[in-house]
Amino acid sequence: MLEISNLDVYYGDLQALWGISLSVEDGSVVTLVGSNGAGKSTLMQAIAGLLTPKAGSITFDGLRLDRLPAHRIVKSGVCMVPEGRRLFPRMTILENLEVGASTARKARQETLGWVYEVFPILEARSRQQAGTLSGGEQQMLAIGRALMSRPKLLLVDEMSLGLSPLATQSIAQVIKGLNESRRLTILLVEQDVQLALSLANKGYVIENGRIVGQGDAKDLLCSEEIKEAYLGMGKAG
């Protein structure tokens, strides 16, 4: 269970997040919605350890994450699929996956088998260089790489970015499947608000670095404010 309490995050001297508080129950899918620049990715980066918050706390299963370096956070079971994938382009698919297993090396053969089950195409192309993959394949690899660390909580940052609607749907199915079959907890940041809220159980709305709303995903989807604010523009995704 992820608990964020009163989090303040800065970029240098500029404050980006104010007093963020949210929680993610085990086994649920929670989504953060908000317009561009609202702070969604900033929050994800703070959780994953790329940014250190100035105030507040991030706790996962009782362990304080906010002062830990990124690799230790991965070791404690929280792994991020970064915005823009951030693969290692000159390394092969297999090597990318192997790096993903850095904190869970002992079980890596088994985990690899599982990841190949979820994404058979990765097995077929395992010797191919990551930089030569299509957008959708790259997203699969990015998720696969994160899965190699055997996470309890998966942070997915803008998975639909640069993907075709078809690829997005297929990735979305995978995400849903991971949650349902493996009880993998998922925190999702997604531009496509409709998609995000349809995948999630619960949603938080973030605007200008603050949480301005929260609730059941279905309720949010129907709310007038969300419809006006986001769905009017969100249809482009």
Binding site: M80, R90, V99, Q129
Partner: protein, 293 residues
């Protein structure tokens, strides 16, 4: 014909040394995006360690290599921990690179002066019973020390290659080279990877030093020339491509050597410089740019 083979042989031996010289430098630039101006000084210090082990304890230079590598490895760790790791707080790569230039310039200043103070500015070299011997190779002469240097270079490059491709550490190094942030997000302890890489880089500088003090000579002020060589070879190989460094070194060595058939040997440095500038202008990603992407 003899002349041609001899020239090629010299080029290969010299080029192999160039490769070893550049490996440590290229590793640090590639992985951490820091420039170690003190790399040349490390090479010289490696040579001195071998020299004193030979002079005081009668240890054959090539047998002293493990010792030299250990000593230099520690020096590399110290370099990273004390001087380079504080630079990680700067988020921008250019800033870090520029700061590393300044800071390692300071290191080289300290090291060169310390070495001069401790061991005088005199030139040193190791002369063993076999130093002057040569082997016959299709009518051309190959010095024993040259052959030893060549074998060492190939060994070191091979070990480096295997390390990078077959071990987890190597994969961490390559991942950090391509995207340090993503590596951290994948669970790689990037700082520790940097630390060990620095140690390895220094150890390789040590090996280069041993070869140099056995085949040529060292002096406290000699580091800079080797630093320049390392940089030229690195550019030929392409920044971040540690695997191509030995081949790049060989190419440089052979081209330089062949040029002596046409022009006086005092032009070798300017020729290296011209190659360097040409590659930077027309193949900024190195000679092997098309391979591997």
């Amino acid at each position: 014909m003899h002349a041609l083979i001899q020239t090629l042989l010299i080029g290969i031996v010299v080029g192999a040394l160039y490769g070893v010289v550049a490996l440590g430098f290229g590793l640090i630039v590639g992985v951490m995006k820091f420039v170690n101006i003190a790399h040349g000084s490390f090479i010289i210090i490696g040579g001195y360690v071998a020299f004193w082990l030979f002079t005081l304890l009668d240890i054959d230079p090539y047998l002293s290599i493990p010792l030299v590598m250990c000593a230099m490895f520690v020096l590399g760790l110290l370099l990273y921990q004390l001087v380079l790791s504080p630079l990680l707080k700067y988020p921008r790569a250019e800033m870090r690179l520029d700061k590393s230039l300044l800071v390692t310039f300071g290191v080289t200043w300290i090291l060169d002066n310390a070495v001069t103070l401790l061991w005088t500015p005199d030139t040193r070299s190791i002369v063993t019973s076999y130093s002057g011997s040569t082997l016959d190779f299709f009518g051309a002469k190959l010095g024993v020390t040259g052959l030893a240097g060549l074998i060492l270079a190939v060994l070191v490059a091979l070990v480096m290659h295997l390390l990078l491709t077959r071990t987890y550490f190597g994969k961490h190094v390559r991942a950090a080279t391509e995207d340090a942030g993503a590596a951290a997000l994948s669970g790689v302890n990037v700082q520790r990877t940097y630390l060990v890489s620095c140690g390895i880089a220094a150890a390789m500088a040590g090996v280069a030093g041993v070869v140099i003090v056995s085949s040529y000579s060292i002096a406290p002020s000699g580091g800079l020339n080797w630093l320049l060589t390392a940089m030229v070879v690195m550019v030929l190989a392409g920044e971040g491509n540690v695997t191509y460094i030995l081949p790049a070194g060989l190419i440089l060595g052979i081209v330089q050597s062949i040029s002596t058939l046409f022009v006086s040997s005092s032009y070798q440095q300017p020729i290296a410089l011209i190659i360097f500038i040409l590659v930077l202008m027309f193949r900024p990603n190195g000679l092997f740019a098309r391979v591997g992407r």
